[in-house]
Amino acid sequence: MSDPRIKAVAIGASAGGVQALLQILPSLPARYPLPVLVVVHVPPDRSNALVPLFQSKCQVEVKEAEDKEPALAGVVYFAPSDYHLLVEADGSLSLSSDELVNHSRPSIDVLLESSADAFGPALAGVVLTGANCDGALGLRAILDAGGVAVVEDPETAYASMMPAAALRACPSADVMKLDAIAPYLLSLGTA
């Protein structure tokens, strides 16, 4: 499963997403060789707790994405509440307060589509549990750009709608149960 082409990981999660990410991100080592970009839909009043929660559980550095900062290996960047997170062609991050996409800001599609644009075939995109359809078009864009698409198995996901929609848009995506996703991410970026 090793895939040394991959230079970045982008993950989208919605309902049940915090619990799912708690089964993935704490497995990453402090010197994880890739940047990890994350959009998770959470109510705005609870969003400030997200980064501290993951900081306390993870070995890898976890931070809120800041406008125009470079995306560095070994860092997990969470989209701030009420802003879209995008990746620029030079690999730096940018934020926008554009209108909601799929009723969401941050939107998973916005992250995945701009990441696909920036990283092309060097991107692995992951769509986890959720009760909406955000992320499906973004994952499609990743495949179209030659990247790798991973979908949490809708059969076992906390909420099946979002991974099922992603799978409909990307029938060739790799379907994985939640406990297989961390080992997969660990295999990336190593020769």
Binding site: D67, L95, V110
Partner: protein
């Protein structure tokens, strides 16, 4: 493979927009410009970004439509109520010591922030000594700001935000409901100058005591952010204030040293002594 043709076409379109109409988006953060242009291409039923460029150069009605895609931000009144609370409790006590005040809302879009500040200044008794400058590059947005009309369904959120800002009055004191719209009191804009101004290409036009420019700089690349922040530095009176959006910062700017943190968590800065 990455579709480099789109990116090439976008670069050419932005050059055309600049050379033909002097709207300079060339140093806007490209990822969100690209999203907006693709959305515009779809909604204007054009086959490509190049077709959009053709239309832009030869059909005068395309420019205003394209500008709406490229510029209009969605906002709300008293967005981030804690920012306005900090203005009320921490900044206005300083501004109160001046006999006359100039306030610049840079990138005012449809005017939500302008009316928020105008209401705040009225509640705090500073409105009669203040001139507000509301600027934007989009003439359609400026006209909307000048009209001060918002959908009534948004006003519930505006009202909740206003209350959280430490309101001393009711937002309903400032608008009349009319067929699903909230029409804001025209006396709120009796001391407002609406003007076309670009942070990209225009210069200082007055000496300000407060500049509020929120969620505008995130759309710029770093060099353009520096230009705009330099313009704010040169526009501010000694010890004047600059308020940015909650995810904007001077930390990475080359003009960082010209400002000090005033209310750090709210991204309110003060012009340092020269």
């Amino acid at each position: 493979m990455r579709d480099g043709v789109d990116d090439l076409e976008i670069g050419l379109l932005l050059e055309a927009l600049y050379h033909r109409y002097h709207y300079d988006f060339r140093h806007y953060a490209r990822a969100s410009i690209k999203r907006r242009l693709i959305q515009a291409r779809e909604q204007l039923h054009l086959s490509s970004i190049s077709a959009m460029q053709d239309s832009l150069l030869h059909d005068p009605s395309t420019l205003p439509r394209l500008l709406d895609y490229l510029t209009v931000q969605v906002s709300e009144m008293f967005r981030d109520p804690s920012y306005f609370r900090a203005m009320r409790e921490t900044v206005l006590p300083h501004l109160r010591t001046y006999p006359s005040l100039k306030v610049w809302i840079a990138g005012c879009s449809h005017g939500e922030e302008l009316y928020s500040l105008a209401i705040l200044f009225r509640e705090e008794g500073l409105d009669q000594r203040t001139v507000f400058y509301a600027t934007d590059i989009n003439p359609t947005a400026l006209r909307a700001a000048e009209a001060g009309i918002y959908p009534l369904e948004q006003v519930r959120k505006f009202t909740a935000n206003h209350q959280k800002s430490g309101a001393k009055s009711s937002l309903s004191d400032y608008y009349a409901a009319d067929y699903g719209r909230a029409v804001f009191d025209k006396t709120l804009r009796s001391r407002v100058v609406f003007s076309d101004h670009s942070l990209v290409t225009d210069a200082v036009f007055a000496e300000m005591h407060l500049i509020s420019c929120r969620n505008v700089l995130i759309y710029f690349d770093r060099p353009l952010q520096d230009r705009a922040i330099g313009l704010f530095r040169d526009s501010l009176a000694r010890k004047g204030f600059l308020g940015l959006g909650s995810k904007e910062s001077l930390r990475f700017s080359k003009h960082d040293a010209a400002f000090s943190d005033f209310v750090r968590d709210e991204k309110i800065y003060q012009r340092a002594e020269p």
